[in-house]
Subunit: 456 residues, 2 copies
Amino acid sequence: MNVECNLEKVSAYAESLRGEYESNLKKLVSLASVSMEPDRKSEMLQTADLAVQMLIEKGASAKIVNTAGQPVVVGEFHAGSEFPTVTVYNHLDVQPADAAEWQTPPFDMQIEDGVYRGRGTTDDKGPALAVMYAAAYVHKLGVPINIKFIWELEEEIGSPSFAQFLADNISELATNSIVVSDTIWVSRERPAIPYGLRGLQGFLFKLKTGLKDVHSGTTGGLARNPIAELCDLIAQCFDAKSGEVKIPGFYDDVRPVNEEELSNFVASGFDVDNFKKAHELLHTRTEDAREASARIWARPTFEVHGITGGYAGPGVKTIIPHQAEAKISMRLVPDQNPAKIINQVEAFVRSINADVELVREGTLKPFIGEFSGPFNLAAKAAMKAGFGKEAAFTREGGSIGAVVSMQEIMQVPIVFLGLSLPEHGYHAINENFDWQQASGGMRMFVDYFERLSKIK
Amino acid sequence: MNVECNLEKVSAYAESLRGEYESNLKKLVSLASVSMEPDRKSEMLQTADLAVQMLIEKGASAKIVNTAGQPVVVGEFHAGSEFPTVTVYNHLDVQPADAAEWQTPPFDMQIEDGVYRGRGTTDDKGPALAVMYAAAYVHKLGVPINIKFIWELEEEIGSPSFAQFLADNISELATNSIVVSDTIWVSRERPAIPYGLRGLQGFLFKLKTGLKDVHSGTTGGLARNPIAELCDLIAQCFDAKSGEVKIPGFYDDVRPVNEEELSNFVASGFDVDNFKKAHELLHTRTEDAREASARIWARPTFEVHGITGGYAGPGVKTIIPHQAEAKISMRLVPDQNPAKIINQVEAFVRSINADVELVREGTLKPFIGEFSGPFNLAAKAAMKAGFGKEAAFTREGGSIGAVVSMQEIMQVPIVFLGLSLPEHGYHAINENFDWQQASGGMRMFVDYFERLSKIK
């Protein structure tokens, strides 16, 4: 079989299933599987049940695996143990949604001209269903590949139970490669395949210089000012204007970005003006697209998220605070190691201000996947088959904890074949997905699975 | 008459009036004249009425003068227009009090072993009454001096109507000197006469880099961080550890403190350990008493009171804020000029970060009074007469706007003869005053008025 020659058939298959796809997506969206909200236990379980049912209806085996947190749905279209296996990762939990801000109710999916508006449509229920239909088609055709599914329900809260789930089920989950379908193109005009994620190391910098706030008239000049000392420390940690981190050794393990990567970044359609508009930024640290894309995707950062402890009301109140806390995090890139970064930061802060207490917050390792190799070549070809355009290889600036866990525990190649677009309102109000991306995604995944069946 | 020879008589007079003093102070304290609280209008007017009535009962003329804000009580013991005039400044408004935190109800004065506990006892109703009884005694004896009173009711909110009141009534208020009785000794062991106050210039430093908070994964490295840029600006404005201000020209007009002044500061009983205990500071910028007292009384400061705009909840949330505001003020000392300081700060901030918007907040000029001269000599001698100990000449680190207004508009010497002690809980819970300071204060003021009657 050569699927490339049969793309018209796949398109026809997709069109024939459009009603079913839309109906099933609407059912999934109607369950408010908001993992951040503790009172959604029932919706989470109903979502898992519905997902199992949908997989079974299409001819897969499927079940719920319980964890210490939310369950994970696993499933498989089994072709034969002598054939290669690919595992698809999606998640079925969603971000919260404030109905008052939406054009239409977030959990009652509306269809308008092929656009599906509702929470979870693009992140990540719509892509999950598109992959499922592609897999069902491939399986029905008898393509010699086993297609496994991992549908998580805790992605939006940082996957707290996921590493343990993988470790506990490692033999059952055995696979030759993983495809993650939960990323965003840079522009609708150009498919994008990210191959790297940034990591994260958070800290609280805390300084206490007294037991109560004091009056700057009575004590000013003699009393220490903990906010000002944290400002000084932060200014020594990094240059706020350029963003350059000044902590010794911080950049030692940063993998340089080569010319080919930079060209790919810009080829994705990345544009500084569009980026500014999308994020409502008045200024950026550079206007150069090449430099800008490297900054957000391939370079580490130092960020101050807030400083608390002082007067926060209107105007000026002349207190000297007795304590202050700066909320800090660093985005890390390959091959930075969070453990080493923690040591560097702690030593540096101690050297600048020994009274500052450091509290370590969350750690996420950076991720770098296949930039070349058979899986990436297959992904690129599949993108072309699905959407008629060459894909650009990019990275993502955020962190997906589940991906790093899969890399560490399952130790197989991971590729990203996402279907979301900037205009889909990922994590925002009026989130949406569309049939153009869903049907193109089906074509792409059919092609991808067919190609993978030939990689031994 | 030589009052110095009659101090025993004054003491006997004071003792004979102790019951009346305590009863009147209790009446004044029972009226919660909290100028910060808008719903105290009735208590403010009752306080003014009661004050007028008390002055009239002791033989003075007295009346209420209305202003755009709270009224001012003015009064006079008139001896004759051919004699010199002294004006006493006190205030009858008080700080707020949270009854739940107090040992006894703040507006129901308790008397225990000669200690008067209640809001306003030491700041400033108790001292005001002590001066009134001293003036009544001097007047009855026929000492040739006119003693005028200005009792303000807006001191605790920065005297917003006071300058206009002075300007509107300048001829009626004509005087040869002013004595302000609203300051605190450094230690009960040693009377203190401050002769200087620091001024103040407040600012908001505001920076806006976007229209909404963004995600540090998606935008970090390219988006500017307004909190971090303000930290950098603050670190360039002053050295948080030493307190040294780095804005060019900032120290140009600072009047140097000479050896005699420094010796006086320390002679007041100033002690760094006691200061740390009183203000519950864990550390101070110096442990040296001479250096420490100069820092709080005679040197300018740069202070950060708070930084808002970022994430303020628990832990770390990886946003990049779109705006930030630092709440800044500088304490100023003689002969710094706030208008010049404003220009220096604005030019410096512009040179470091042109996107930062500066908003000017409150301005209070620094004050320097008589360090020598006949009024200060009289004050020193009167302190010795009243309390049996040599007074130390100190300064105060805070700002009293009313004093600067009196200096500018009335243009006569101003001296400070305060009666409050550190243990009196000025602006704190369980505020108190005591008969030892009240009766010593009466002796001191009798002696002071008698001396002033001889200064032509």
